[in-house]
């Protein structure tokens, strides 16, 4: 398996994705904004189709368009303060509208199907390099803004009183979400991308740890989900995106069962 160049590229890119997605996902989940991940994943499809139509690298197209949509979500909060969920519908309508229009116009120079379901065959060396650059940059920004991001998620008012420029950081964060989505899309695909951002975090939250440990466990579960999903999908000859999502759910279920068994054993011991 490792003799194939496409598999080397896919594994390399997956390793970066596995670290980046939970680093962003933990803040999305704890801010109760996990649906933003799903909306921006669909938005990235518009960026991909525009990129392909223009003969450019689709990952760059996805990153640019998803960043714009992320910033637009923040901007629209001013106008829909009490109906925040409507913002996601507006962005979804805009991006899916663009994607379908471009796809149906016949102006695409390549197929966009692999981006819907994810594919390991299409990951080029340049893609792997782009994934590495965007992931490394994004993780560095998360490290630099770590305490600000933690506090905006935990207690936004306290963050404002401490002098954090919440608005600005929210804009930066939307670019980080866009980055995580655009680097993951090639392997995982649009349809299950949000599961990569949220499921490892959901699993880690079951362990009842503090923030740092929850983040570390999220990365660990993410690595297990993506690597196992990728390797098994190769042997089963199925799309890696769908299978990785299935592995993520299986790991979550295993952790939930483990938690229940542990609680049962403790109760029996105390009796």
């Amino acid at each position: 398996m490792l003799n194939f160049t496409f598999m080397q590229n896919a594994l390399l890119a997956s390793a970066f994705i596995a670290v980046l997605c939970p680093c962003i996902g933990i803040f999305l989940v704890l801010r109760r904004q996990s649906m933003i991940g799903d909306t921006l994943a669909h938005a990235s499809l518009a960026g991909i189709t525009v990129g392909l139509a223009a003969g450019q690298n689709p990952i760059i197209g996805a990153f640019a368009f998803t960043s714009i949509c992320g910033a637009l979500i923040e901007f629209l909060r001013n106008y829909f303060k009490k109906q925040a969920e409507l913002i996601l519908n507006i962005i979804l309508a805009l991006s899916v509208g663009i994607a379908i229009t471009v796809m149906s116009s016949g102006s695409l120079h390549a197929s966009a199907d692999s981006f819907m379901f994810g594919s390991i065959l299409t990951v080029t060396k340049l893609d792997a390099l782009l994934v590495f650059l965007l992931s490394a940059l994004s993780v560095l920004v998360v490290v630099f803004l770590y305490h600000q991001l933690v506090y905006i998620a935990y207690d936004e008012e306290a963050a404002k009183i401490a002098g954090v420029r919440v608005r600005l950081i929210n804009y930066v964060f939307s670019v980080l979400v866009a980055s995580a989505i655009s680097v993951s899309i090639r392997i995982v695909g649009v349809l299950v991308l949000s599961s990569m951002i949220t499921l490892p975090v959901a699993t880690a939250l079951q362990l009842g740890q503090g923030f740092k440990k929850t983040l570390i466990f999220s990365i660990l579960f993410s690595v297990i989900d993506i690597m196992l999903g990728l390797i098994l999908s190769y042997y089963l000859n199925v799309a890696p995106g769908g299978f990785t999502a299935l592995v993520s759910v299986a790991v979550l279920v295993l952790v939930l069962i483990g938690k229940r068994v542990r609680a049962g054993l403790r109760a029996a011991k105390n009796r």
């Binding site: 770590y146 306290a158 009183i161």
Partner: protein, 224 residues
């Protein structure tokens, strides 16, 4: 320390106003409790003082080097957040750019919660989490402490401890305390001044005066 001049506020920017023509001056070292019925504008006034809301008209000027804030517990949705006491305080220390690493332990010591350093915030009782929020507000030695209903959802024993702590911070350390209160007894026992809000307007008086007015009003209501 705090100077409020002819303050008007409404959430829509137009009448009716939540606060209407408020003027209030508070000197350093006072302990002021803000009393009034639900919806009288107590929390809104605090948020204006904290600059979390802009005035519709008038001005709010606060002269403080550092402000410590303890939010209303009902508004505080952080109970399910996976964060330890140390992480919550240490991240806040970093936001305040306090270099001294021991500031977190010192702050926890001041409220008698040092042994809870590694506990998860979500596992603490109402009284314990309130003390942790006070410890967070004390990071960096603030000269102004703003609290929004500090005894809501807290048992009687913890309430006593919290008010004893606030009194000590005010009387011994000279920290100015502004506290939105629904606990009349605690407000009268601890405050140096009481600001009563009704129909968007307020009046300032001593706790003794307030107790007298309150008892008189209660007496007239009983006779009516």
């Amino acid at each position: 320390m705090i100077s409020i001049e002819n303050l008007f506020f409404s959430y829509t920017g137009a009448p009716p106003y939540v606060l209407s023509g408020i003027s209030l001056h508070i000197r350093d070292g006072e302990y002021v409790s803000f009393l009034g019925d639900n919806g009288s504008g107590k929390t809104t006034l605090m948020r204006l003082i904290l600059k979390l809301l802009p005035p519709t008209a008038g001005s709010v000027s606060v002269r403080a080097k550092r402000i410590g804030y303890v939010p209303q517990k009902n508004d505080y949705s952080g109970a399910q957040f996976p964060i330890t006491v140390f992480e919550a305080l240490n991240s806040y220390r970093k936001l305040l750019k306090i270099r001294e690493k021991s500031a977190v332990e010192k702050s926890l010591d001041r409220v008698g919660m040092a042994s809870f350093k590694n506990s998860l915030m979500g596992e603490l009782s109402g009284g314990q989490s309130q003390k942790i929020l006070i410890a967070r507000a004390l990071l960096g030695d603030p000269d102004l402490l703003v609290l929004d209903e500090p005894s809501t959802g807290v048992d009687v024993h913890s309430q006593r401890e919290i008010y004893a702590c606030l009194r000590q911070l005010n009387r011994e350390n000279g920290i100015t305390v502004l506290s939105v209160e629904h606990n009349l007894e605690a407000a009268i026992a601890n405050s140096t001044l009481i600001y009563h809000l009704k129909d968007g307007k307020g009046h300032l008086c001593s706790p003794e005066q307030y107790a007298e007015e309150f008892l008189n009003a209660k007496g007239s209501a009983r006779h009516a």
